[in-house]
């Protein structure tokens, strides 16, 4: 499925480069590796890649500066951040700065593989949109954006503040487009705490991958959507309304909002 796509991995530890190369090659990807961000940037300007995996804590240029540099150079290649300094703050900051996903080290083969899969599909959707724009084709819809007042964490999850300070959260259509057909979903239970940037649900697809969904806000779950557990298709059919996942009481909404992007800004 993702065979022959070219990916670039940047990390200052050779053992990580080796591990990622090994996994990527086994899946049929062509993997290039660099041990610093500066030469990674150089590679990116020479060659087209479908996906970049990048460490955060590196000597000289760190991962965040790398993301800033990409934006400055208008390079739109999707980037997945991988780091040993795996705090939720770093996860959220990465997504806010334009990374499409965040995989904390140490990761299993499956975890990395599912993220790479989403990344490649992300790249393909991006390409389709670009192509449609070039052909001035307004008919093709690649994905459905959320309602303008909703806010999103990266392109992964959304949240909407409803009545009496309750927030509703779910997965974006973009995220669902980057995964294969859903088979099942694992949700957390009411009264459990979720943290912004931390995993809040596992989505299993028919290609036997498990995808973690990172929560857009922190808070305590007061209700989970039982209906999507019974009818998984509801999630794909109506991700922003009927396909919600949790209702939560946010614990630190002012802080969390700093890293969320309103869907309204996508339509400009």
């Amino acid at each position: 499925m993702i065979k022959d796509e070219k990916i670039l991995v940047i990390d200052d530890e050779q053992v990580i480069l080796n591990a990622v190369t090994r996994i990527g090659s086994a899946e049929g990807l062509i993997v290039d590796s660099e041990n610093n961000a500066a030469s990674g940037l150089k590679k990116l300007s020479q060659k087209e890649y479908s996906l970049v995996l990048c460490d955060i804590m590196m000597p000289q240029m760190d991962g965040f500066t790398f993301l800033d540099e990409l934006q400055k150079r208008k390079i739109s290649t999707p980037v997945i951040m991988i780091t040993g300094y795996s705090t939720v703050e770093n996860a959220v900051k990465s997504l806010y700065k334009g990374a499409i996903d965040f995989v904390p080290k140490p990761f299993t083969f499956e975890e990395l593989n599912s993220s790479i899969n989403r990344g490649i599909r992300y790249y393909r959707i991006q390409k389709r949109i670009e192509l449609a724009r070039l052909q001035n084709d307004k008919g093709t819809i690649s994905y459905v954006p959320g309602p303008p007042k909703y806010k999103r964490l990266g392109n992964l999850s959304w949240m909407n503040l409803e009545y009496e300070g309750i927030a509703v959260i779910g997965a974006t259509d973009f995220f669902l487009e980057t995964i294969e057909k859903l088979v099942s979903i694992e949700l957390m239970e009411p009264d459990e705490e979720i943290i912004q940037g931390d995993s809040c649900a596992n989505l299993v697809t028919d290609d036997e991958l498990t995808h973690r969904l990172l929560s857009p806000v922190s808070g305590r779950i007061i209700e989970k959507n039982e209906r999507i557990l019974n009818d998984i298709n509801l999630l794909e059919k109506d991700p922003y309304f009927e396909g919600w996942m949790y209702k939560i009481i946010p614990s630190n909404i002012e802080y969390d909002l700093n890293y969320l992007v309103p869907f309204a800004s996508d339509r400009m």
């Binding site: 200052d12 530890e13 050779q14 053992v15 990580i16 080796n18 591990a19 990622v20 090994r22 996994i23 086994a26 804590m57 000597p59 780091t83 040993g84 300094y85 795996s86 705090t87 904390p104 080290k105 140490p106 990761f107 299993t108 083969f109 499956e110 990395l112």
Partner: protein, 626 residues
């Protein structure tokens, strides 16, 4: 000096002021009352004198008319017997003494310039009538201490005189002679002196009593509470925020004492919080260091094992791989929880034997060393007392330093030596300033410019229009300071906080060595630090630690004869994520070690020469402050 101090005391100032005012008031009062008394007594004496004079004149009148001079003499002599009477004289118009109570003067002439005559004979022509007050005179005879009141009574010519048988006096003569009576004022003077004496004694007693009362009350109500306040301020100044002023009553000073207590309590709370957050911050850094260092190798283990698990077809191998994956995932959770709870975990210190910890650490790495044929010398001083340390953390430190050392040395002829011993050190030259603030509580610590790997203290300098910075050596007494501009020690200089520009100059004193300008800042919670800004002068004073005196430390040295560390790398080796070993780095970084030692109030220093080897020296205080 003591006298000057005594004069500057409030009580003495108050006593002096009140004393002077009291003296003034009592003097004026006494003067007025003595004056009134004196006048009263004198007028009584004068009245008596004039009555006496009239009596003499009248009683002698007849004997005069009859020209019976012996009778006149008798009368005069009899009256002179009266106590207090000094002399009675009668002289004629020419001034010849006709009668006197002192017989030897009879017949003598009186000088017209004499006191008795002066009143009438000031002009060329003598006065014929004299008012009463002018007839009196008071004078002191030189040979006599008491004063004398003299009263003259002119004897006027009367018809009975010129009609008398003797016909001595013609009718046209106005004044026939003068009766002069002299009274001693001894009693009056004694009375006046007595009342003067009483007034002075009264004034003195009043002043003494007032001073005593003021002294007692000032001492009780002002001096004691003020001393207590001063003492408390000094205590707080040296960092003892637990000092509580005992109840000073409910007056203004009492209220001041209460609000002072309130302030120190708030300060203590704030300081505790600051400490806590500082500790948490370093724990967070430690956890971050651990997470980063451990997660990379774990990633390799986890990816390869999970990858193999997916591809393997051998059920036996599959089981083994599952164990590896499961256990690696468990490690991942441990690291994650370490990161999550970093802000709450604090080193757990208990009494431990440092040599035992070192031996345990050696046991862990011994295998690795013997495989590389590295010789390990152990030189541990016995009888090191137990002291409070976190054994686990400290063991990590030693394991890490030993692993570093074994990485650095050559196989076969590599040598590592570990030693421990008790050293007694003066804080001078060893103690590190880890926290310095200006009077507005801005941190002066500069993490960017380090001296011997330790953050320096940054001060802003301005002299003759030049601006720059001084980065001071954080080790007390070492003076390896860095100056960004050249300064002239003899000239005026401004030294200030780089953040808020508040002056850190101690205006009240100069360097006792070179008379240079002194900077001073607080080292919470260890009092005030002072030093001379002159780059060529090494004068420094840290009263708080000087007073603590010499302290016992355990010095642990781990040396190797390995490759050494480049000079340019030395200042940075304790920074997080800084490695000179490239991808060879294992375990915890030196930053974590530094954090652990720092949490034990200890210091770690490195001494290294390329090609010769490296020595890490750790100093841990045996008696730790709570």
């Amino acid at each position: 000096m003591k006298l000057r101090q005594a004069f500057t005391k409030i009580s003495l100032k108050l006593i002096l002021t009140v004393g002077v005012v009291t003296i003034g008031i009592i003097s004026v009062y006494s003067f007025l009352s003595i004056q009134a008394q004196r006048n009263e007594l004198l007028s009584q004496a004068e009245f008596y004198a004039s009555k006496l004079s009239e009596t003499i004149r009248n009683s002698t009148h007849l004997s005069m008319l009859e020209n019976r001079s012996d009778q006149t003499h008798n009368i005069i002599n009899t009256i002179t017997q009266e106590p207090g009477l000094r002399e009675i004289r009668i002289f004629n118009k020419e001034g010849r003494i006709m009668f006197s109570s002192q017989k030897e003067f009879i017949g003598q002439m009186v000088d017209q310039k004499a006191e008795a005559c002066f009143a009438c004979h000031t002009a060329n022509e003598p006065l014929e009538r004299l008012p009463m007050e002018d007839r009196m005179r008071i004078y002191s005879l030189p040979q006599d201490s008491s004063r004398t009141l003299g009263i003259i009574n002119p004897i006027y010519n009367e018809p009975s005189c010129w009609e008398a048988d003797c016909h001595v006096h013609p009718a046209e003569q106005k004044v026939l002679g003068v009766l002069d009576v002299k009274l001693s004022l001894k009693d009056v003077d004694a009375q006046i002196a007595g009342s003067e004496f009483r007034s002075i004694v009264f004034a003195l007693i009043a002043i003494a009593l007032l001073s005593l009362i003021i002294g007692i009350f000032v001492r009780r109500w002002i001096e004691k509470p003020v001393n207590e306040l001063v003492n408390a301020t000094e205590q707080v100044g040296t960092g003892n925020l637990n000092y509580v002023i005992k109840d000073l009553g409910s007056d203004e000073l009492g209220l001041l004492g209460k609000s002072f207590n309130n302030m120190t309590q708030k300060l203590a709370e704030a300081r505790l919080q600051l400490f806590q957050s500082d500790k948490m911050a370093s724990m967070g850094r430690l956890a971050a260091g651990v997470a980063h260092e451990i997660n990379n190798p774990l990633t390799a283990v986890l990816t390869y094992s999970s990858f193999l698990l997916k591809r393997v077809n051998n059920p036996e191998l599959e089981e083994d791989l599952k164990v590896i994956v499961r256990e690696t995932k468990r490690s991942r959770e441990i690291v994650k929880s370490l990161l999550d709870f970093a802000r709450q975990s604090v080193p757990k210190k208990s009494n431990a034997n440092i040599n035992e910890i070192i031996s345990n650490a050696i046991a862990v790495v011994e295998n690795q060393l013997s495989m590389k044929h590295i010789k390990l010398e152990k030189n541990l001083e016995e009888n090191i007392p137990l002291f409070k340390i976190d054994s686990n953390q400290m063991q990590q430190v030693f394991i890490n330093l030993l692993v570093n050392a074994s990485d650095a040395v050559q196989e076969r002829d590599g040598r590592i030596s570990v030693s421990s011993k008790i050293v007694s050190l003066s804080p001078y030259g060893t103690l590190q300033i880890k926290n310095a603030v200006c009077s507005k509580r801005h941190s002066l610590m500069d993490e960017e410019i380090k001296i011997d790997g330790k953050p320096s203290i940054k001060l802003k300098l301005a002299q003759n229009g030049n601006q720059g910075f001084a980065n001071l050596d954080p080790i007390y007494g070492k003076n390896r300071d860095k100056y960004s501009i050249e300064i002239k020690p003899q000239e005026q200089i401004q030294i200030s906080c780089p953040r808020c520009n508040i002056s850190v100059i101690d205006k009240d004193s100069n360097c006792p060595k070179c008379k240079g300008t002194i900077y001073s800042f607080e080292v919470p919670p260890r009092g005030i630090f002072e030093g001379c800004i002159n780059p060529h002068c090494d004068w420094q004073r840290w009263k708080f630690v000087d007073e603590a005196g010499i302290k016992d430390y355990v010095e642990i040295k781990i040396s190797d004869n390995g490759t050494g560390i480049a000079k340019e790398d030395l200042p940075r080796i304790f920074e997080p994520f800084y490695s000179t070993k490239g991808q060879k780095g294992t375990g915890l970084g030196l930053a974590v070690i530094w954090g652990i030692i720092d949490n034990h109030d200890g210091t770690i220093n490195v001494d290294s020469e390329m090609g010769k080897g490296t020595t890490f020296s750790i100093l841990l205080p045996i008696s730790q402050q709570a």
